[in-house]
């Protein structure tokens, strides 16, 4: 799922994924993202940081506090190279970070890797 207020970003990412035979849900803000999670979405979430009304960090806080985190991996998308330090408190829930404009190949690799991780099941005899 991509969460971004910019329509072209959403659409281009969607085209990218479809061209690779994947599928992508889109949400134009934190509110829509939460609605889809409530509706049962599980997967990799590409979260834009700078969004009107509810920014990426607030959306993550809301996801965690509503217990919707499990089974998802969150990758932040941002134009800034460095995040605000005050967001450290939820850094554990931000698995990765991509700086715009990202390399599509990199995005695809990341998405497929994290997507594959999500398919893993708990196993305690790995050692």
């Amino acid at each position: 799922m991509i969460v971004d207020d910019n329509e072209y970003v959403r659409e281009s990412v969607e085209i990218l994924f479809k061209s690779e035979g994947g599928c992508l849900a889109t949400a134009e803000g934190g509110k829509e993202c939460l609605e889809q999670l409530e509706a049962g979405f599980k997967g990799v979430i590409l979260m834009d940081v700078m969004m009107p009304h509810m920014d990426g960090w607030d959306t993550i806080r809301e996801i965690v506090s509503r217990g919707l985190y499990d089974g998802n991996i969150i990758i932040m998308l941002t134009a800034k190279r460095e995040p605000d330090e005050k967001m450290e408190e939820i850094q554990s829930y931000v698995t990765d970070y991509l700086t715009k404009p990202f390399n599509p190949t990199e995005l695809l690799e990341m998405a497929s890797y994290y997507g594959s991780l999500l398919k893993e099941t708990p196993c305690h005899d790995a050692a």
Binding site: K80, R81, P101, F102, N103
Partner: protein
């Protein structure tokens, strides 16, 4: 006794005599007054008494006449028959009708005598009964019975004084056979007279007391005046002695009559010794003659005289003095002598000298003031024109000093006109327009004026201050003006403002760059995603070629945005100088490692020649960025298989670090500009792989380390050396 005392005494004696005379006059006139009052009083009293007596006598005559009328009415034939007095047939004896009637009408008493015996009366005896049978005695008896005539007079009747009238009663034969009597008690009349006399006496006594008192008072006053005279003489001498200036007086022969203590000190002799001496007896010949001449001139032309002289005091000190002399007149009005006062003006002269010296020093200070300065007097004539203003205007002192009529404005304005110093006490509006700026603080004016073609040269900006000068009494005695050429300062100020605006502009630019850096990235995202997707679908080679240009452009936009953001961050944010001591060689190693891929691509070798012992003070992150940028830059402009050398050497207190390449080099006229934002060495070509910001970032980092960075190049194609300095120890 000296003259002054004598003179004083004469005056006083005259006064006393005058007073005595006055007292005598008063005394005499008082006595006369008393006498006159007494005489008039007596006269008035006697007149009054006469009048009163006449009144009483008239009343008495009326009274006795009425008695006669009444008696004659009874009968006119008086005779004594059988021891009874008869009037006609009317028996008088024991009959009180007539006397009582008289008493009713007139008051008083009335009696009828038969012979000398009272036979009808209302005179009462001591027991209060009618005094019948008593007899007439005294002068009345004598007159009636011996001389046969009437009697008038004061008679004591039964010890009471009466004003009386006695008439004889005669028979037909003319023989006195009895008498008629009326009397008015004299007491009332006398009491009135007595009262008057008492009043008169009291008035006289009062007057006498007044005059006597007056004389006593005058006498005492006279005594006091005599006493006062004594103290006045003492007072005057004390007064003289109290005067700190020597005072003396001489007679018309120029002989000293007396002096005060100060004079005694001055002359070194006592007053007693002085009296009677002439100047020649006391002073050196020359001085004495001088005094004498002055004295004589004064005596010839009485009045006042003053002259200066230098005298030697008895204590040996030489003093500048002023002699003030004046004649005085005797009691007859003719010139009696002269008085002199000596004023010691040594201190005053010294003070004048000191003031003169102070002024001299002041002039010297003004003369050497670094600012062009001139001073004018009250009439606006130039009284000081210092070196600085000579230099500024080219006008020499001798051409200006003592001149007025706005001579000082000529070098500035080429005409005679009021300037700043004239505004001190004149209407500011007159020439306000001629100043770029003018203000007043207290009494001091400040102004800035632009003088076009000053002394035939360039326009000049002058800063002037003018202030009035006052003497110690607060009177305005002139003014002082200073002029400074602030043209250079103004230019510097202009440059400073320009610089400031540039800094502001840079700030604005940085802000825009930060915004641009961030905001470009979002719209670039779809490009980055979609362009490669589209390219995959392209088949025509020329289309692919065109499309690649688009992709490269997008990449270059991204690079630009990235670097702009970095540069803006480095320069715009207030960077805490979070420095620490670092091993420079290790930092270079890190940076070279980072650039390994880039170097490998062109097979360029990067040599780290930095001594591992070199420790620098800096921010590791920024220094790494600095080296990476410099290496990237060097790689970019180097040929394949060339060498990049990084080295450090000590230069004084600073460390010079250089990154040397064997690349294309930089044209001399570009050396200064390579660190400018967005400067690219090859301006004609759109270099898509460099942002043009790399070296700007380097410059910013070096500046953040309080160092400087510059480029050196022997010329095009001969390689480049980028040098910068770093502090060695903590700053």
């Amino acid at each position: 006794m000296n003259y002054r005392q004598a003179h004083t005494l004469t005056t006083v004696t005259n006064k006393v005599q005058y007073m005595k005379t006055t007292t005598k006059y008063i005394l005499a006139s008082s006595i006369v007054a008393i006498m006159i009052v007494a005489m008039f009083g007596g006269y008035f009293l006697s007149q009054y008494q006469d009048y009163e007596v006449r009144e009483e006598q008239e009343k008495l005559e009326n009274c006795i006449r009425t008695f006669w009328e009444l008696l004659n009415h009874k009968g006119t034939d008086f005779r004594v028959v059988n021891g009874q007095l008869l009037a006609g047939a009317y028996a008088v004896n024991g009959n009180f009708e007539l006397p009582d009637k008289v008493q009713d009408i007139f008051g008083g008493v009335a009696t009828v005598f038969m012979g000398d015996e009272r036979v009808s009366t209302n005179v009462l005896n001591a027991e209060g009964k009618r005094a019948l049978g008593t007899r007439l005695v005294g002068p009345a008896y004598e007159a009636i019975f011996k001389q046969g005539r009437t009697y008038r007079g004061v008679v004591n009747i039964l010890d009471v004084p009466y004003l009386t009238a006695y008439d004889p009663i005669k028979n037909r034969q003319g023989e006195v056979i009895g008498a008629l009597f009326v009397g008015i008690k004299e007491s009332e009349f006398l009491e009135r007279m007595h009262d008057l006399k008492v009043h008169l006496m009291m008035t006289l006594a009062g007057m006498a007391t007044f005059f006597i008192s007056l004389m006593v008072v005058l006498g005492r006053a006279l005594h006091q005046v005599e006493a006062a005279n004594d103290s006045q003489i003492r007072f005057q001498q004390t007064l003289l002695n109290t005067i700190p200036n020597p005072v003396f007086y001489k007679d018309t022969d120029c002989r000293y009559l007396g002096c005060n203590k100060a004079f005694e000190f001055y002359a070194g002799i006592s007053q007693d010794e002085l009296v009677g001496k002439t100047p020649h007896d006391l002073w050196p010949e020359e001085l004495a003659e001088c005094y004498l001449q002055h004295d004589l001139v004064l005596l010839e032309k009485p009045g006042f005289q003053g002259y200066e002289a230098t005298v030697r005091y008895a204590d040996g000190s030489l003093r500048d003095v002023i002699f003030n002399k004046a004649t005085f007149n005797g009691s007859d009005g003719s010139v009696a002598g002269l008085v002199g006062v000596i004023l010691d003006i040594t201190e005053r002269k010294a003070a004048e000298e000191a003031t003169k010296n102070a002024y001299q020093q002041l002039w010297e200070i003004v003369e050497f003031l670094p600012d062009a300065t001139f001073v004018v007097d009250k009439e606006k004539r130039v009284i000081a024109w210092n070196r600085a203003i000579e230099k500024m205007t080219g006008l020499k002192k001798e051409d200006v000093i003592g001149k007025g009529d706005y001579v000082y404005s000529i070098p500035f304005y080429g005409e005679r006109r009021p300037i700043l110093i004239d505004l001190i006490d004149e209407n500011m509006d007159l020439i306000r327009d001629k100043y770029a700026f003018i203000t007043i603080e207290g009494r001091t004016l400040f102004a800035e004026a632009i003088i076009p073609n000053f002394r035939g040269g360039a326009d000049c900006c002058l800063w002037g201050t003018a202030t009035p000068l006052f003497d110690s009494q607060g009177n305005q005695v002139g003014g002082i003006q200073s002029i400074r050429d602030i043209t250079g300062y103004k230019q510097a100020e202009g440059e400073r403002l320009l610089l400031k605006s540039q800094v502001d502009q840079n700030r604005l630019m940085e802000t825009i760059m930060v915004r641009l850096g961030h905001d470009l990235k979002t719209p670039l995202t779809p490009l980055f995603i979609l362009l490669p997707l589209i390219r995959k679908q392209l088949a025509q080679p020329d289309l692919i070629k065109k499309f690649d240009i688009c992709i490269k452009s997008a990449i270059s936009i991204k690079n630009l945005a990235d670097k702009a953001a970095v540069l803006a961050k480095l320069s715009f944010r207030i960077q805490p100088f979070d420095a620490e001591d670092l091993c420079l060689a290790a930092v270079v190693d890190d940076s070279v490692l980072t650039c390994e891929d880039m170097l490998g691509l062109k097979q360029i070798v990067c040599q780290n020649c930095v001594d591992p012992a070199v420790i620098v003070h800096g921010m590791p992150g920024q220094l790494r960025e600095l080296f990476v940028n410099l290496i990237s830059n060097a790689v970019h402009f180097s040929n394949d298989r060339s060498v990049i050398t990084i080295s450090a050497e000590q230069h004084g207190n600073a460390l010079w670090i250089s990154v040397r390449d064997e690349g294309v080099g930089i044209a001399a006229d570009h050396l200064e500009h390579v660190f400018d934002e967005l400067f690219k060495a090859d301006e004609s070509r759109h270099d898509l792989e460099t942002s043009g910001l790399g070296l700007s970032i380097c410059k910013r980092i070096v500046l953040n380390h309080h160092g400087r960075i510059w480029a050196e190049s022997p010329g095009i194609g001969q390689g480049t050396i980028m040098r910068f300095t770093l502090p060695r120890k903590a700053v």
